[in-house]
């Protein structure tokens, strides 16, 4: 699975965008989105997913159940 951003909760603070090690986060239609093809759940980069750790609103960066778990190579 990759992480996704709950658009209705996102405050557009931009904090996650700069921290993402995969540059998977970008602004689209007035909110931020995570590209599931690029998201690695920060595995191999950091212990904690960075977007979850910095997000000022709880339960806004969440695992997206619609895509399979990321498998490190």
């Amino acid at each position: 699975m990759a992480y996704k951003i709950v658009a209705s909760q996102c405050t557009n603070c931009t904090a996650c965008e700069a921290l993402c090690p995969n540059m998977a986060i970008s602004e689209a239609k007035g909110t931020f989105v995570i590209d599931p093809a690029l998201c690695t759940e920060c595995i191999g980069h950091f212990e904690d997913p960075q977007c979850v750790a910095i997000c000022p609103v709880d339960d806004t960066c969440v695992l997206d159940a619609s895509v399979p778990r990321y498998q490190p190579a």
Partner: protein, 527 residues
Amino acid sequence: MTDTLFSQDPDSTREASSADGVVDISDVMQKVAEHKGCGTEGGSGKASCGSSAGPADMPPEIWEKVKNHPCYSEEAHHHYARMHVAVAPACNIQCNYCNRKYDCANESRPGVVSERLTPEQASKKVLAVASTIPQMTVLGIAGPGDPLANPQKTFETFRLISEVAPDIKLCLSTNGLALPDWVDEIAKYKVDHVTITINMVDPEVGQHIYPWIFWENKRLQGYEAAKILTERQLLGLEMLTERGILAKINSVMIPGINDAHLVEVNKAVKSRGAFLHNIMPLISAPEHGTVFGLNGQRGPSAQELKALQDACEGDMNMMRHCRQCRADAVGLLGEDRSAEFTTEKIMAMDIEYDAEGRKAYQQAVEGERQAKVAAKASELDGLEKAGDISVLVAVATKGHGIINEHFGHAKEFQVYELNAKGAKFVGHRRVDLYCQGGYGEEDALDTVIAAINDCHAVFVAKIGGCPKADLEAAGVEPVDQYAHEYIEQSALVWFKDYLGKIERGEIVHQQRGDAAIRQGALLSQAG
């Protein structure tokens, strides 16, 4: 905790910095303390070193830095305006008094903005405002997140503005977590003023204010988080002091959590060379959706706030004129003209930066300001008969140090303390517009009376018959005979008359009660 940091070897601080010409921090701090006329021993020079201090009270280089800065000089705030540009939305900590989901054009408090800007838009906005408001002398970055959690955007904005408007002073306001990493960059852009929000120097206290910090790619909580935060804040402050950058400390007074502790914070920041300490009341209402708003944490009353500020004033300069403004505020501290400068309006503006015109205007302001100081000084004789009597008075003003606002139009009242030593600005009270469309509403009048209930009199340019009677019934004397005259001079004339009446036995001096600090929205556009 404080002691450990306090006794920190100055060399370890020095190691953390890479700038050339770093000097011994204890020397600098002693020098700063002496500059302020508030030696570290405390004592003699103190009475003259309030934030209302004038050129005679401080060395020329410090006076030069603060004289046009409305946030660093109480006296300047009546004449000079500031603006914030909201280029820094990201934050690296969470505070229990902040909720980033909240955004309302009619709300005025820190962390709230209507739109965020790119550095290029911010630069254009600064030019637009500077051309429209010649007394705008200061550009600050205060969020809505933390400027140093957005370093590229923050410093790019400073770079652009210093190119197009070099006469504008630059400042920023930070939570301090990232400050030690950026002090040299701050010095490079000639940012003269840095505000650090320090609410505690003890992690036991801090863990009740900060649920988490983001540190070295992890979210840390509780005691551990607060310990790192306080260490970084105090290290950052020391590094600013070493470089001669003026530091102001903002502290949010949270009754039952850090109110008593702020005296200790005051000592800790003073000993590290902070120039000014600004203790602000907690803004907390359930509709803000903050942790403190939702759990019913109350803010302080006017009397509680003033007592704490007075207690700390024995040790250092206290700021009492902070309006806790928005991260995109524009104008004099008591006003907000941000709605005139939305990105849409700015892009349509034809802007010509008139540096000479700005200079001429500011020279005129300087003349006005000196006349005000002279007027105040002219009324200092004859105050000795006040003895121990000290009273507060409220003033309706639109700025310039003049009583020039109608009672019903006032969005805030400035509060002055009058006693044997003279007249001193000690705070302000926000009130919703009591008069909208020419008629008064009884509920609104009650709000105003609650806000200035600790005052003996209220000075206004004009007032209607009904509110006049209600104020008198509440024990607050409405005074309109000094319309369009200088505030402090008029207040002192009134005070001497008041003392005369006591002397002649016409009235008996009585203490007033407490007053409420308004927590709700300040309607910036109304009226």
